[in-house]
Point group: C2
Chain length 206, copies 2
């Protein structure tokens, strides 16, 4: 249904917001009218934040994580364990792992997973630079932390083969099993089977 | 939960998006990373559209609708019936009525409804300018098209009293009744009672 905009400027702004994923024209209108009610400084801060990010953002030369500097804060931090590298699909996954506060090593952001359906092959990902990092000799363990999907596993196998020439480097996979709070009866057979096969010794505490 | 951003620029942009209504930090992150994947021109177009709108937008001197010019396209259109003025709460309501293609008159955008709870009194709304428009003598009918809420009805009564000195001007209210597709048994008593009291002659067509 065509909307009747009384302002071309309004129509343009709504059109731009409506291009964002998951934002329809009604939501776009609501967001634009909300911004229009704010002070000019607030609107300019909003507008500039995204423009500045796009123009000035860098990606870490080592791990390809998003960064304000050539080497990201994580890679530059001497307190982090450089011998353990956690391979993740994207920036959000770095944050997800960081939020667990369970990992003190470094990351390697692939920038996606191998997905022939989407035309994404190994050369589109930061796999060669991962091999280079491993080759340098500092890395003792590579943790593969990709999503347990067809594409994630394809990528896991590919990296595994690529790292085969370096047998001193341990390659590990994040545990797969029943997620906290999940009902056992609704778990799929593969997950449940694997969670039994990979059972851990219960010491009386969790 | 605090997020671990590896880029201050990213954190700022996500923070700005997260200030929008109905956008949480996770959605904000998704939107910002989506924009980051676009071309620089696309991001600049997005950023500029909202900034330009805020800096250059005008409100129609006559009906207070959003406009690119001093007098909006609707008020400036000689094909519209200037003797009928439809009073609405906001810009979105103008669009909603326009989308019905059932109305050929002009609008008057109040900019809200009387709501003592939110500290909005009659002087915060474009009611005086409505009275001025009526006083000018061109207007023959004022259609009150506010939402049938406590605040909407308070505003309806207030406008009705303000327009009492102009008995030649007909004041009408949009019909209240059962919405298309609604189940009768779930309608509230007030709506159902009113829809019976205000029944219309059925001519064999709808």
């Amino acid at each position: 249904m065509s909307q009747h905009y009384s302002s071309v400027l309004l129509e343009k702004a709504v059109g731009e917001f409506a291009k964002l994923p998951g934002i329809g024209r009604k939501t776009a209108m609501r967001l634009v009218l909300h911004l229009l009610r704010q002070d000019t400084e607030r609107v300019d801060a909003f507008s500039q934040s995204i423009s500045t990010l796009k123009h000035e953002v860098k990606y870490c030369r080592v791990c390809h994580n998003i960064s304000d500097t050539d080497i990201c804060q994580l890679c530059a931090n001497p307190a982090r364990d450089a011998s353990t590298v956690c391979v993740v699909e994207n920036i959000r996954d770095v944050m997800a792992v960081e939020n667990t506060q369970q990992f003190r090593g470094l990351y390697h952001v692939l920038g996606g997973v191998i997905s022939p359906m989407d035309g994404i092959g190994p050369s589109d990902l930061q796999i060669d630079s991962l091999v280079e990092r491993v080759k340098s000799g500092v890395v003792k363990e590579v943790i593969l932390a990709l999503s347990p999907t067809m594409e994630g596993d394809t990528t896991n196998f590919y990296i595994f083969r690529k790292l085969a020439p370096y047998p001193d480097v341990k390659i590990t996979l994040i545990a797969r099993g029943i997620a906290m709070g999940d009902e056992l009866e609704y778990a799929d057979e593969v997950t449940l089977g694997r969670s039994i096969a990979n059972r851990t010794v219960f010491t009386g505490t969790l």
